[in-house]
Subunit: 230 residues, 2 copies
């Protein structure tokens, strides 16, 4: 039989992971500090060493998720040099990865917003707003450049954020698709949802440019048809 | 001063609406039967007349959402006669409307799944599976017909369901856009996310058909270029 571990041998991250699983299964009120210690096979003292109560754990979880989201928003300047299509693809990739790697924490924070201190609640809201603004700005840029269709940037941003966030409710690590595959698929669906139909032809290009691109495509197809079995 | 109303003058639906608002604001455990009665300006007796406790309210809320979703799945046969694009548009419209008109209830049920009886939990899961299957089947049909790109039907279904479900977290009835506008935008984004690029050219058409369509487009543009100012 394994000897219960003491505080020296566990990390606060392991405690938060176990707490997150139990909060999702049983709710915050349905989970005790004793349950969390039992789940980890440690003594209650080891848990109390790091967290004085469940509220302190929820606060730490919220700070984790909020901090990562804030860091992400701060890194957004790097996308200024990219075209709207690539900028959106990168942003979806980054946001979907954040959610997929923090799926249960994300749900625990969402479910327990009413248990957060006003300051933490404000921080969580500010980080959500920063994410929305990033998406909406890139979408607006794509609409202006003609790379994207004329969509409402805020509604389209919420739709794409919803695609990413909802993974926290359905992604199954033991499922057929890896996180990276799912992220690539979501980025592709998100870009396609706003991209101009016939995206290679810029909206503002006018008839002459469209003609040039069509002639190119035609020449390619005419070369191919010679090889095609009939 | 308004006289507290008695059971004769309130409907169970009003009690559930008030309970839903408080459950979201304060959590299930942070809300008492007395709070719900106060919110409605009725006596506790009036509330107890319909619901013996908060768990009974949560059960009724879950049954409402589950019943509507089940009804929706049953109506799906009507989409068999539609092409994949129109079928998907209708399905998104229907699902987004369900969520937007039950936004808070949907979130309360999601948050409190651990408080449901095993039977209700199974029902809620079955209705989620029915929604997923409907979306995935229509997407598969569109991939097969060449109307949609080659996407993973299940991942695309989850992405589109996520677009719809996430409205429960962001839709603001006092915002700039009406429910109908948002529903139409989501349907458009969802269809575009999977639709074949250059959707008028079927995937299976082969080089000859592509050539025919390109030549047609070219002829149209060549006629137009004669009128274009340079």
């Amino acid at each position: 039989m394994a000897k219960p571990r003491t505080k020296g041998s566990i990390l606060p991250e392991s405690i938060l992971d176990a707490a997150t699983r139990l909060f999702i299964e049983r709710g915050l009120d349905g989970t005790s500090m004793y349950d969390i210690a039992t789940e980890l096979g440690v003594t209650r003292t080891a848990v109390y060493y790091y967290f004085k109560n469940k509220e302190a754990m929820l606060a730490a979880l919220t700070d984790n998720v909020t901090r990562v989201a804030g860091k992400m928003a701060a890194e957004l300047t790097q996308y200024q040099d990219l075209g709207p299509v690539e900028a959106l693809r990168n942003l979806v990739t980054q946001h979907a990865r954040l959610i997929l790697t923090h799926a249960l924490q994300f749900r625990v924070v969402e479910r327990n917003e009413h248990n957060l201190s006003p300051k933490r609640r404000d921080n969580a809201r500010a980080s959500r707003r920063a994410v929305l603004t990033s998406f909406a700005e890139i979408i607006q840029r794509g609409v202006d450049s003609g790379d994207f269709r004329v969509v409402d940037p805020k509604v389209a941003a919420f739709a794409i954020i919803g695609m990413c966030n909802w993974t926290a409710w359905w992604y199954d690590p033991s499922g057929a698709r890896s996180q990276d595959e799912i992220i690539a698929m979501l980025a592709d669906l998100a870009v396609s949802s706003v991209r101009q139909d016939g995206a290679k032809r810029p909206r503002a290009a006018g008839v002459s440019e469209s003609l040039r691109l069509l002639r190119k495509e035609l020449a390619y197809l005419e070369r191919r048809i010679e090889d095609e079995p009939t």
